[in-house]
Symmetry: C2
Subunit: 256 residues, 2 copies
Amino acid sequence: MNQLAIIEEVKGWVYEAGEKIKASFDDQLEIDTKSGRTDLVTDMDKATQDFLIEKIMAFDPSAKILGEENGQDHLQDVSGRVFIIDPIDGTMNFVLEQENFCIMLALYEDGVSQLGFVYNVMKDEFLYGGKETGVFCNGKPVTPPVNKSLSEGLVGMNQVMFQRNDWHTQEIGKIAMGVRMTGCAGYELIDLSLGRRVAYISRLAPWDYAPGGVLIEALGLTMSTIDGRALGLEEREIFLAGTQKAYDECLEIANS
Amino acid sequence: MNQLAIIEEVKGWVYEAGEKIKASFDDQLEIDTKSGRTDLVTDMDKATQDFLIEKIMAFDPSAKILGEENGQDHLQDVSGRVFIIDPIDGTMNFVLEQENFCIMLALYEDGVSQLGFVYNVMKDEFLYGGKETGVFCNGKPVTPPVNKSLSEGLVGMNQVMFQRNDWHTQEIGKIAMGVRMTGCAGYELIDLSLGRRVAYISRLAPWDYAPGGVLIEALGLTMSTIDGRALGLEEREIFLAGTQKAYDECLEIANS
């Protein structure tokens, strides 16, 4: 099956999951906390992940799953086809804003990224694709963004890191045209893909960065850990992505 | 002329201005700086203000204007009918994101706020109204938001203030469920009106806070300077707004 056919298949799942999430706004959400007071999970996060896994298993029963919810957050073996799922990225926004959240999937094969899908449900902004196919936004090809320097653009930032000035993030923010905090990695990686940001720095799990990461790398943008190491799929990392110029500047400042 | 008729009149101007701004995306913007590198103004800010003033003058030649651009940023005398205009609130976003900016107007009479209009152009989210008429979002009445405490919601914050921990803003951010930075006062005051925020703190000019301020006060939310003084229309102020509970908490922490 070629990648364009896989894209069409996965897009169908994601749109269907988006409709289910929108329909749930009339229902009472069940909200739990995970690692702390502000780390939320709802019954819709779990139900959306279950729905996507069901679709994946029907599509390819041999595929492996790495997902944020339901205890599927570790994989021993990344050989073969692996789907990485964040059913609702930006759960806090989902609960408190009912917008600015994304459904996200990445497809890896033998540890190599193939396709990414990031759908901002309420904005109806859906980016998908990969290196082979190119990246599309709602069906239209995305042009690789201009290689702007840090001082020419906006930087998406993690609140806690910025507040504590971890990795000189305040210095980075001062050089940029401004700092934005949206509380949603998918939102930030879409904005980076479309040239609305020049960089993004946050602490992210593989399901937060892998789907958007496929897109930004296919568009000629760069990402790594904040100290310049390649990103694995094992654990949370301090994540840095940007245009090549802004990435280089951030890397130098962060590690100075 | 009753307020509902004025609302219909002004809505027409704002939608027309929004169409002109959207049409301008194909043209090359002329961008200048004002007070500093990140304080931008474009030819579209100026053209939009001129367009709105033309409409106001045709509607009421005796009306006074207070507007961000073109040297109309001070008024000696606020008697009679005063229109306060921010033609493009969030100019940085307009330039770098081509979204997350608002067209805003407020109508005051003899120094008393009457009507507010805040239009997020690209999201097509338009809030307008006042104490007498109630507040509407795209034609539907807005329900006053729940009186949540600070720990139950998101806080919109100014980047520089948060970075420097001015007025204990970092402490406020830690108590909240999260901090958001959008770079657009109109965006924040719409979100406050619709219950997506519990508080908002920034340094704002009258044209930044007056239009949204009319809306939030009509919805039972509270605003003042960060040290609890009433907001005038004279100068930039450190602005605090929120649900009554979150406002009280922020005021106490900021002044502790």
